[in-house]
């Protein structure tokens, strides 16, 4: 079995969000970068678990990004995976990125393509669905559990107000979220091994950019909190009713 795990580099969850060039660019100074948590905690770890169950499984990692994405992909390799592919280009357009991943998927026959449910920077939640459409494979979004037996996946996915269980034969594209696996910490052996695992750098395939980010904004700061005494909760109810018109 062959699995492709899509890896994205995102700012750490505690990173200060600020913009440079008059709101045109994300301010990268002082920012720590991490593997997008959904990619790391769920898709990558689940792929590693499947390989632990069936050691003939081959795991490829793919990231679309510049050389600055290499520490992230090495960190992912330290957790597990056999080799990594970096598509040497940078974009904020989901279609362009998905087209790069689809081009990789077209040359290797993967049984499973995993993505995280979204990245925590652009929150697009689009790459999995686009890759699936481009390679014409079934797409299961928002998975909360993933089992694989023979060539059949049994997947629990989030739906409005609950969950449903589906079965589908590979190849399949799956976006993963909480429940699919438990976060792991890389160990020393993994970190050493990652140094010698192959990391292929490919030039991007021709594809269009369909969107571009014009500018960023920060939310307006709050006016300040109005404190109410715990002995006067009626006053809070009055404020919520008369002033905020929230109840």
């Amino acid at each position: 079995m062959k699995i492709l795990v899509c890896i994205s580099k995102t700012p750490d969850t505690t990173a200060k969000i600020a913009f440079a060039d008059g709101g045109k660019k994300f301010e990268e100074a002082g920012v720590q970068w991490i593997i997008n948590p959904y990619d790391e905690w769920y898709s990558l770890v689940r792929a590693i678990e499947l390989k632990e169950k069936d050691p003939t499984t081959i795991i490829h990692l793919v990231t679309v990004g510049g050389a600055d994405a290499e520490p992230i992909i090495r960190k992912a390799l330290a957790l597990g995976g056999d080799e990594a592919i970096r598509i040497n280009t940078d974009s904020s357009d989901s279609f362009y990125i998905a087209a790069q991943i689809a081009a990789v998927a077209a040359t290797e026959k993967y049984d499973i393509i995993f993505t995280g449910k979204e990245t925590i920077d652009y929150n697009g939640a689009s790459i999995g669905g686009m890759v699936a459409a481009l390679v014409d494979a079934p797409y299961i979004s928002l998975a909360t559990s993933f089992l694989f037996e023979g060539s059949t996946a049994t997947i629990t996915r989030e739906i409005e107000g609950g969950e449903e269980v589906v079965t589908v034969n590979s190849p399949v594209v799956v976006s993963c979220q909480k429940g699919v696996a438990e976060q792991r910490i890389p160990n020393m052996r993994g970190i050493m091994a990652a140094r010698t695992k192959p990391l292929k750098v490919l030039e991007p395939a021709a594809a269009e950019h369909l969107t571009s980010i014009e500018s960023f904004e920060l939310p307006a700061p709050k006016a300040g909190v109005k404190l109410v005494s715990p002995d006067n909760v009626e006053e809070l109810v009055r404020l919520l009713h008369d002033e905020a018109k929230a109840i």
């Binding site: 700012p11 969850t13 505690t14 948590p37 279609f95 998905a98 925590i120 920077d121 652009y122 929150n123 697009g124 939640a125 689009s126 669905g129 686009m130 890759v131 699936a132 459409a133 014409d136 494979a137 079934p138 797409y139 299961i140 979004s141 928002l142 989030e158 739906i159 409005e160 107000g161 609950g162 449903e164 269980v165 079965t167 589908v168 909480k178 429940g179 950019h209 369909l210 969107t211 980010i213 014009e214 500018s215 960023f216 904004e217 920060l218 939310p219 709050k222 909190v225 109005k226 404190l227 005494s229 715990p230 909760v233 009626e234 809070l236 109810v237 919520l240 905020a244 929230a246 109840i247």
Partner: protein
């Protein structure tokens, strides 16, 4: 033409879809065109009544193969329908179904996509859509450069308006539907719960409540307010509450009218998922809790004392109203 995708669950149209319809109608007016809708399968609701939202017409594809959701099949069908009716802008709700299909439709039509929009686009020069990024910590204005545009609308971002004295026409649409590969073997609904992303009021608890056995006072308040319940990540991780209640940067992102945070410190990852709430109330015994900086109203006090009093006061207010 603006084409709004009608999502349905249990044969009912969801509130988030009505928001998308309202948004689609407003956008059509802005662009000087008409708003139509697209329904795959069937619903029990009266489709003609969608005219009250000033929707012109509903295209309906009623094929047995669409009775069960399969993203691959739905994507192909929606893309074919959009092409056939000549849609120039497609609208989805950014809910579970929207997330499953809108990206695929974008790829098939090579139509630029913005997910999680929170406002109508600016269309005076170009087509620029505002969406949340960094899990609610900021916004981005994204320009769509293609002739066909696709937007998914963040739930609770756009209020529904209806009341027009009009009915929508219903036009059956004949699109060949391909066979799917996905089999649904079980459905588990958490029945009776108010959907977290659609709720007007959310009451949320953190580690400050000390244990799952103490949730009763929070549930009482939520019940009195008709609110959905949520929790911080450690509460979900410890299984004090089901994990689908976990809000924040790595959980559900919500934007209700009112968010009440009880015994939650207000870590940056928590705030990211809730800071688009219109009004935030924080109840915390620590006056230094960071959440107070993001709040509109606050009570520095012990949740175990404050909550029952608050529930009572709301009961009294409702009785006297």
């Amino acid at each position: 033409m603006v084409l709004v995708y009608i999502d349905h669950q249990d044969n009912q149209i969801k509130k988030s879809t009505l928001e998308a319809v309202t948004y689609g109608v407003a956008l059509a007016k802005q662009l000087g065109t008409e708003a139509h809708a697209l329904l795959l399968g069937s619903v029990n609701d009266d489709l003609a009544a969608l005219g009250a939202y000033e929707l012109k017409n509903v295209y309906q594809i009623n094929d047995a193969a669409l009775a069960h959701f399969d993203a691959q099949v739905f994507v192909k069908t929606i893309a074919a329908a959009a092409t056939k009716v000549g849609a120039t802008t497609l609208l989805f709700s950014h809910n579970q179904t929207g997330k499953a299909v809108c990206a695929g439709v974008s790829a098939l039509l090579k139509a630029g996509l913005v997910t999680g929009a929170i406002e109508l686009p600016k269309t005076d020069a170009g087509f620029v859509v505002k969406k949340t990024v960094f899990s609610g910590k900021a916004f981005a204005n994204v320009s769509i450069q293609t002739a066909i545009k696709i937007i998914s609308l963040s739930p609770n971002s756009f209020h529904t308006t209806s009341g027009a004295a009009a009915t929508a026409s219903i036009t059956p649409l004949d699109i060949p539907v391909s066979a799917g590969h996905v089999k649904i073997t079980a459905v588990n609904k958490t029945s009776g719960e108010i959907s977290l992303t659609e709720a007007d009021i959310v009451v949320s608890g953190g580690r400050g409540l000390k244990g799952p056995e103490n949730w009763g006072i929070l549930l009482d308040l939520a019940k009195e307010l008709g609110a959905a319940t949520a929790c911080s990540r450690p509460v979900g991780d410890a299984h004090w509450r089901p994990h689908h209640e976990h809000v924040g940067q790595t959980g559900v992102q919500v934007a209700p009218n009112l968010y009440i945070a009880i015994g939650i410190s207000g870590a940056i990852q928590h705030l990211a998922g809730v800071n688009r709430s219109k009004t935030i109330v924080v109840i915390n015994k620590d006056p230094e809790a960071p959440f107070f900086k993001a709040a509109d109203y606050g009570i520095v006090g012990d949740a175990f004392e404050v909550l029952p009093k608050l529930t009572d006061a709301i009961k009294k207010m409702k009785a006297s109203a």
